[in-house]
Amino acid sequence: MSTEATSDLDLEEEFAVKRSPIQRLQMTLHRYPWLSSLIVLVVVVLIFGLVNERFLLPSTISLMIQQTVIVGTLAIAQTLIILTAGIDLSIGAIMIFGQMLMANFAVYTTASNVLPIAGQNPWVAIFLGICAATAAGAVNGFLIVRFNLPPFIVTLGTWSVFMGLTLILFKARTIQGPEMPDEMKLMGESFPIGPFNFSIGVITMFLLYLLFAWILKNTAWGTHVYAVGDDPVAAQLTGINTKRVLFSVYLVAGVVMGIAAYITIGRVQSASPNVDPMLNLQTITAVVIGGTSLFGGRGAVIGSLLGALIVNAVEMGLSLAGVDQSYRTTAIGLLVILAVGVDQWIRKVKA
């Protein structure tokens, strides 16, 4: 930061104020919102590594990363939406909807007695599943943009709607791995990189993070996403079509949920409508711990990956240390509150 601006221009002295180390830390965190979560992740890993050497084993780390792949991928979609000052409670339901649609199309023999579909080309099935998730995202976007409804309420509603629709269309039947062709489970295939073990799903997730980090930073659309979340009225006055930006965010988030659906089938090696019902809240936890503000307009997608990893590292570390599940849940809760507290403090930064 330019705390020692050198120029003879008028307002120069106002920039050259002396700052205390705490203020400088605040400024830096303000500029790089994901930095605090990176620090937390490093500290968490170091502490648990010291407590239990098994924590730092490549196999443990590989497992930890693989465990974050579902929440981690969905958190990309959640980050985009939270950056616009919205929230998506239907994120898990849409993912399950896409997943069940994919699996039912690809399964060898008919699984659903409502939609007698089966034996489709698996790639067609995957494509249709992603399309279905995209359409579901578009429904959210349409309701929010067209009728000016709060995202919280809209997605609270669509959460139930898509959950119900999934059960109506595909029954509550879990499709087991062997019922589907191998292409459907591709994302679960793992391979070694050095001592670590990665799955194709994990690599896909990393690539998605890189892609969206680049898009948000380097395209006008990315800037507009931030601007709309920051101050929608201002964004509109500068000539940005805020409605189109908002709608496109929900649409793109739907695509990501569709990809997450495919990754989930690979990770779980089956397709079940009973995947964790708390997925939506878990993604919000990851996003918030990752330093993205729930008030919109600030944050970075990469922070959400760190946030998801922190949650998993804390879970894994405490469990290796023999801490009971209920204490682990409590610890994650405290972490969320701490993250929001830090966010509020960072937002108070002043010149």
């Binding site: 120029s7 106002e14 920039f15 380097n218 920051d230 101050d231």
Partner: protein, 266 residues
């Protein structure tokens, strides 16, 4: 006599049963600073919002640079060279100065990266924002990647004015630019307005602050009950006269008004 760069005739704007503009006329001549004053509810904001593209008048006609216009969005007004600095400034606080200057009209990289991947040319945006700010003498270049929310009120105003002035605009509308500022920062904004005039840009200034209006304005448009009550100059009328016109205590016959541009606009 030169032609007005912005002209409005018989403008009417109603909001339900409330009449915002009641057959208002308006003239802005090239290279002048025209202040618009009036009591609350006199239709100052409604009037300028028509030219800014934020409102579409119900009746009446508008011209910009001789061309008849009807702006449906701020974007359309901009394309005709009319830029507005809104009272709220319309900045995105978390974005940096250069992103704010180019908000809604980002530059793309030339060639493949820009066309296919739609990559922004951030380097050029930063350089040019720095240049624009320096042209107006308002900021050091090395601060261009600073978030706008870390700036003071006056600096934010300066960023907003720079944005309006940066894109070859012919007319800049400033809505209460000093309302939220202290004495020192207000002085800075007033000198910015004079800079704009020297660069040949016509300025419409909405203000409640009489001393400031009388300091910078070439002509003063007094709005009352939704229409133009009079146009005077700081030379022909005093602040008390202006207040009297605003309240209706004083009526100025047309031959005592200044409806044409001053002899030699500065």
């Amino acid at each position: 006599m030169s032609e007005p760069i912005v002209k409005g005739r018989n403008l009417v704007k109603r909001f339900g049963s409330v009449v915002g503009l009641n057959h208002a006329d308006f003239d802005l001549f090239p290279g002048e600073v025209l202040a618009v004053i009036g009591d609350n509810g006199a239709g100052k904001s409604t009037l300028i919002k028509c030219f800014a593209g934020a409102h579409l008048p119900d009746e009446g006609e508008m011209w910009v640079a001789g061309e008849q216009v009807a702006f449906k969005s701020t974007h359309e007004a901009r394309e005709h060279g009319v830029e507005t600095v809104f009272q709220t400034l319309a900045v995105a606080p978390a974005l940096d100065i250069s992103a704010n200057l180019y908000l809604g009209r980002e530059l793309r990289k030339p060639g493949f990266l820009g066309k296919v991947f739609r990559q922004m040319d951030k380097k050029r945006m930063r350089q040019e924002s720095g240049q624009h700010l320096q042209d107006l003498g308002i900021m050091t270049v090395q601060n261009i990647s600073q978030a706008v929310e870390t700036l003071s009120g006056g600096q934010r105003q300066a960023v907003s004015v720079a944005r309006a002035a940066a894109f070859g605009s012919k007319v800049i509308i400033l809505d209460e630019p000093t309302a939220a500022l202290g004495v020192r920062e207000s002085a800075k904004v007033l000198s910015l307005i004079q800079d704009l005039r020297e660069r040949g840009i016509s300025v419409i200034l909405i203000s409640h602050n009489m001393p400031q209006v009388f300091e910078v304005a070439d002509r003063i448009h007094v709005q009352r009950l939704g229409h133009r009550a009079a146009v005077v100059t700081p030379q022909t009328h005093s602040m008390n006269d202006a207040v009297a016109i605003m309240t209706g205590a004083l009526q100025v016959p047309e031959n005592e008004q200044t409806l044409t541009p001053l002899g030699s606009p500065a």
